[in-house]
């Protein structure tokens, strides 16, 4: 028995090993290069809402700091707050003015509130000015009829500098 244990210790004496990390370092280096390539240096990043399919465009203009207006398949949102319902790609009939079919009262009131707030800040702070910029994230499948209503109401509320958010195909 003793002889067998001695033999086992003798056999295992050279069983120590060093971990080969080279391939792992290779993998990490590739990952770092990939992540650096897709790293964005832009000050403003837009995160599309869940389920929102933006259209694809060749434009390379970086997004700017502006009021966020989302027109998704289920509703119109201003700064992540749902304002109006959308059913089957159309603005809910009750939300539209009877005298002006392109005017969405609820959206106008909300945008007007934001415009007044921005103008108030601009009055008190000389470095800030109200420029009426709005970034519209709209679902690719929506008809122009719905977008027209949103754009019309937005321009009436003082937000006439419209920027259309799109996915970059580059």
């Amino acid at each position: 028995m003793r002889r067998a244990v001695d033999q086992m210790i003798k056999n295992n004496k050279r069983a120590t090993f060093t971990l080969q990390l080279t391939s792992m370092v290779d993998m990490f280096t590739i990952m770092i290069v990939f992540l650096l390539k897709s790293y964005s240096t832009s000050a403003v990043n837009i995160t599309p809402q869940k389920g929102l399919q933006l259209p694809v465009s060749t434009t390379m203009s970086a997004p700017v700091e502006a009021l966020k207006l989302v027109v998704s398949a289920d509703g119109i949102y201003v700064d992540d707050k749902k304002i109006v319902d959308i059913k089957d790609g159309r603005v809910d009939g009750a939300a539209v003015e009877s005298t002006d079919p392109d005017f969405i009262r609820g959206l106008y009131d909300e945008l007007d509130k934001h415009a007044l707030k921005a103008k108030d800040i601009a009055e008190k702070n000389a470095e800030v000015q109200f420029d009426g910029k709005v970034v519209m994230q709209a679902d690719a499948k929506l008809p122009y009829d719905t977008l027209k209503k949103v754009m019309y109401t937005s321009s009436l509320a003082g937000y006439a500098d419209l920027k259309l958010a799109t996915f970059s195909n580059e």
């Binding site: 370092v25 997004p63 709209a138 321009s155 799109t166």
Partner: protein
Amino acid sequence: MAKTYKRITQDADASFDLDLTPMLALIVNLIPIMLLSTVFVRVMVIESPLPQVVQKALDEDRNKKDREVTISLDMKPTGFVLQVKRDGQLLKNVDMPKQNSKWDLVKLHSEVARVKAENPTVFRMDLNPDREVAYDEIVKVIDEVRKSNTTDPKIQLMDKETNKLVETDLMFPDVVFANVVEG
């Protein structure tokens, strides 16, 4: 002789493995930071100023001399209609019907490039989509009219300061939804 043998033996023992542990530790720290701050889906913007309701009439009147030529593109259910007007008078009217119920973007691009070559100083196009046109179709059209391809006629502008011709690939970067305020 014995000395030389000793030196060779010492050189043979001098082989070593690079200690990659600190580098690995650095990368392992770096990767979560990069993963958290990396944007995998890049969102860009198309700039499209809307005509101000009240200001529109005033601006048009004030800038009448500046905008002698107006170029408009209608997206009708049947296809595109490209119009060029000078002082309100129709100079050009091009109908581009749909091909197999799809928008003829190739023809649109070539016609727009031709119009741009004739009017190199005009950068604005009035877009009038029909109410039923899908948003992604509008974005495709904006992409087509914004920049020229290498096969298109060269767009040359005179630099007033240096009196030299300057080439650009921009055709109509200012696409305005002109029918927004029409009601």
